[in-house]
Symmetry: C2
Subunit: 232 residues, 2 copies
C-alpha cells in the first residue's frame, strides 16, 4: 500500500494514513476491539483483534436454535474476507445455572459447533476451559445454548481459543516462520505485556491478523497501546 | 526458612516444602487465586496473588451500608499481616443498570472508600476505568454500592489497580530496586506472559507479594504457570 503513495508523503504520514484507513475498515467491519500498527517493510500492517465471546455453528444446529430453514444473516463483515458477524445471538447456560445472554454467532456456518469464551466467562459459568486451537475439541466440555426456536446441548466444543496469528505465505516469509510456529506479541503502553506462544496459523487467503481474547485484551489494555510488535 | 531445615533435604525438597507450606497458608488465608515460586538466595518466595474484585471502605461508609455501629467481621486473614477478607459483601450498581453482587469488603477499614475491579467488570458495568495505585482517586469515576442497611453513591474511587509488587527493604535490596521503580513479571506456562511496569511498593512490614487482577491472572492462566520470575 505504501509503495503506491505519492512521494511527498513522509513515512509518518503514510503510517497515519494506513492506520486511518484500517480504522475505518475495522470500524465498519470489526467485531470486538482492535488496534493497528504498521512496520517499515512489512507486507501488511499488524492488526490485533480482541475476539469477544462468540459461537460457531453447523447449519443443523442453527436450525435447532432458530427454526428450520434459517440462514445466518450478515450484520457486518469481519477483517478476514468471507467471515462475518451474524444477526443471530444465543444465550449460554452453564453448570452453575448462570447465563450469558447475547452471544453472537459468527458466520459462515462450519462443520462443527464451537463456543469460544474467556477464562473470566468460564469461571462465571462454572466451566474449566481447555486452551485450544479452533476445531480441536478433544477433552473439551459441553454447554447448553438457547435460541428463539429451541435449546441445544452440545457435549463438547467449549474452548478458550489459544492466542494466534493468521498469516499468508508473504507474512510467514517476512517474519521467518512457518505454520504452527510460535511468535511473541509485544504490546507497549500503560499496561504493557508480552504474550508468549502466539501460534502461527497459515492460510493462503488470510490477511495478517492476531487474535487474542478479552482477558488478554484487557490485561494489556489494548486500546491504549502505543506500539505493537511480533517478535521471535 | 530453608536455612533451618535438615541438611538431608535437597534443594528441590526444600522448594517443594516451601511451596507446600505456603500453599496451606494461602489456602487458609488467601483471597482469590495465587501461585508461589521460590528462588535460590531470595529472601522470600515469590507469591503472585490474583486480586478478585473487592472494596475498601471508611468506617462511616460501612455504617451507611450495614447499619450504625457495624464493625468489619473477619472471614479470613490475607497474606499481608493485619489484612483480611471481611464477612461483609456489597452489590455494585453501574451506569448501564447492571449489577455485580457479592463483592467482598477487605479490612481493616481505611480513610477512603475504593472499589477495585477489572476492565472486564468495567466494560460490563459501563465504567471507563483509570489504571491507578490504591488511594489515588484523581479523575476516577464513582459508583453506587448497595448494602443491607442502605445505598451509598460515591463520586470517585473506582479503579483498576495498577499491577504492583509489595516489598520490604530486604526484598528491594535483593532485586536492586527502590520504592516506585518498575519490574517485569515473567510467567512461564501454557499461556506465558511477561507483564511490564509492575510498580514496586515499599513498606517495612510487608512480605514479598505481587498483585495482579483477574484479567491479568486469566490472560496468563496463573494456575497453570510452571515458573514465575521478577526481572528488571
Amino acid at each position: 500500500m505504501a509503495t503506491t503513495l505519492s512521494p511527498q508523503l513522509s513515512r509518518p504520514d503514510v503510517e497515519a494514513l494506513v492506520r486511518e484507513v484500517l480504522k475505518q475498515r475495522l470500524s465498519a467491519g470489526g467485531y470486538g476491539r482492535y488496534a493497528v500498527d504498521s512496520r517499515a517493510g512489512a507486507p501488511h500492517p499488524l492488526v490485533v483483534n480482541v475476539s469477544a465471546r462468540h459461537v460457531h455453528v453447523t447449519q443443523e444446529h442453527l436450525e435447532v436454535l432458530f427454526g428450520r430453514g434459517t440462514k445466518l444473516g450478515k450484520m457486518k463483515d469481519l477483517y478476514q474476507q468471507g467471515e462475518f458477524a451474524s444477526e443471530q445471538t444465543v444465550t449460554l447456560v452453564g453448570p452453575r445455572q448462570r447465563i450469558i445472554p447475547n452471544v453472537r454467532i459468527l458466520g459462515p456456518t462450519r462443520n462443527y459447533t464451537q463456543v469460544e469464551i474467556s477464562y473470566t466467562d468460564g469461571v462465571y459459568l462454572g466451566l474449566d476451559l481447555p486452551l485450544k486451537i479452533s476445531g480441536d475439541h478433544a477433552g473439551t466440555p459441553g454447554i447448553t445454548l438457547l435460541g428463539p426456536a429451541g435449546a441445544l446441548t452440545i457435549q463438547h466444543g467449549v474452548i478458550r481459543a489459544r492466542r494466534h496469528v493468521h498469516m499468508s505465505t508473504e507474512d510467514m516469509a517476512y517474519y521467518g516462520v512457518k505454520d504452527g510456529d510460535e511468535l511473541k506479541l509485544k504490546i507497549t503502553g500503560p499496561s504493557g505485556v508480552t504474550f508468549e506462544g502466539l501460534t502461527v496459523r497459515y492460510h493462503p487467503k488470510v490477511i495478517l491478523e492476531v487474535h487474542i481474547d478479552t482477558d488478554e485484551g484487557n490485561a494489556c489494555d489494548l486500546e491504549s497501546a502505543t506500539k505493537m510488535e511480533l517478535i521471535k
